[in-house]
Amino acid sequence: MIEMALNIKSLPKKKYVMPGHAACPGCPETIGFRHLGMALGDKAVTVIPAGCSAVIQGLWPKQGWGLPALNIVFAAGAATASGLARALERRGVDAHVVVWAGDGGTADIGLQSLSGAAERGENIIYVCVDNEAYMNTGIQRSSLTPHGAWTTTTHRGNPGTKKPIPQIVAAHRVPYVATASIGYPWDFIAKLRKAAKIRGFKYIHLHAPCPVGWRFDAGLTGKIAKLAVETGAWILYEYENGKLKLNPPSNRLLDPSKRKPIEEYIKLQGRFRNISPESLEVLKRDIDRNWEEIRTALRAQGDL
């Protein structure tokens, strides 16, 4: 189990997030960024398109991240990282170029440059920090907002469903695609370290519950991230060279009876406060469909 393999106390103590940064209390993006630094150390160079993380970086004259960070326009995260990775390699600099982009910057506005870099096989790690809406500009819906969730552009609940971005990236036949959660740092850190050893395009989709946009108490960020996984609403898995594998604790949740009821996850979040019974059913159906697709893939591989 990944959890066992990683000794928390041996992780680097260096500050990869500088105290006194601009993020809201309880911010998941800063939790995840700390784990990024712990995983890759000083070899990581980040490329950050528009979003909350860009603001944390961009309060000139100081920046809030403890890693080099290049700020770039919304649509160009993966394109910029492609050029940066090539330039560093040509100069003989040993570095891991990491795109650190929000769900809007990944699944909507940055999708074409992400697809291009994946198809070209650029040697970068792309992390989508998914807080399920455009938080920095005031909680607008993105294509990664789950069904039924309130946002400032979906007052009656999001009519759409969450776009399957990890599968869309995996369909580019890249060597590594994984999901992760800020609630499971040892899993995210192990996946980043694995990605760093692979040459080519690597994609990690990090689930990042946001207290401001999801309307929950700032102290609950970690708990809600774990509940997403324990209820099966978010699934931890990885595709290595196209082969799918469920990771703990999701590997024990293929059987729906092992999952906590979805209500335990959504009742703590104000964005679902007014969800209708019909919408809740659609949300549950979306989640079931994700699991069904995983089951089908595992079966096709002969793993079930």
Binding site: G20, A22, P25, P28, T30, P61, Q63
Partner: protein, 110 residues
Amino acid sequence: MSSSTTERKLVVDRRGHFLPLSPSEVGSAGKTGSWRTERPVLSPEKCTSCYLCWLYCPDDVITMEPRGPEGNEIPVIDYEYCKGCGICVDVCPVNALSMISEEEPIEIQR
């Protein structure tokens, strides 16, 4: 803007052009400890030195130091920057941390 901002040396390239660079430094948004309405406080005798509070703190204001009752490592919180989110309290498996109101007198917390 503080005086340290105006005194800061700007980064320029070989031709003397100003470069929009900012170094990683503590306090890019000021002394964020002033944002708190509640503060996390530790009961050192309960702490099992598991590091989970350190691992999850979004503001990186926890340092593990060998200051526990048995010389064990306990979290030491930098209240100058701790935003009082309460995540450390929530993730602590043994309830060694609790939130108390900022209106409580400081002496009680020692």
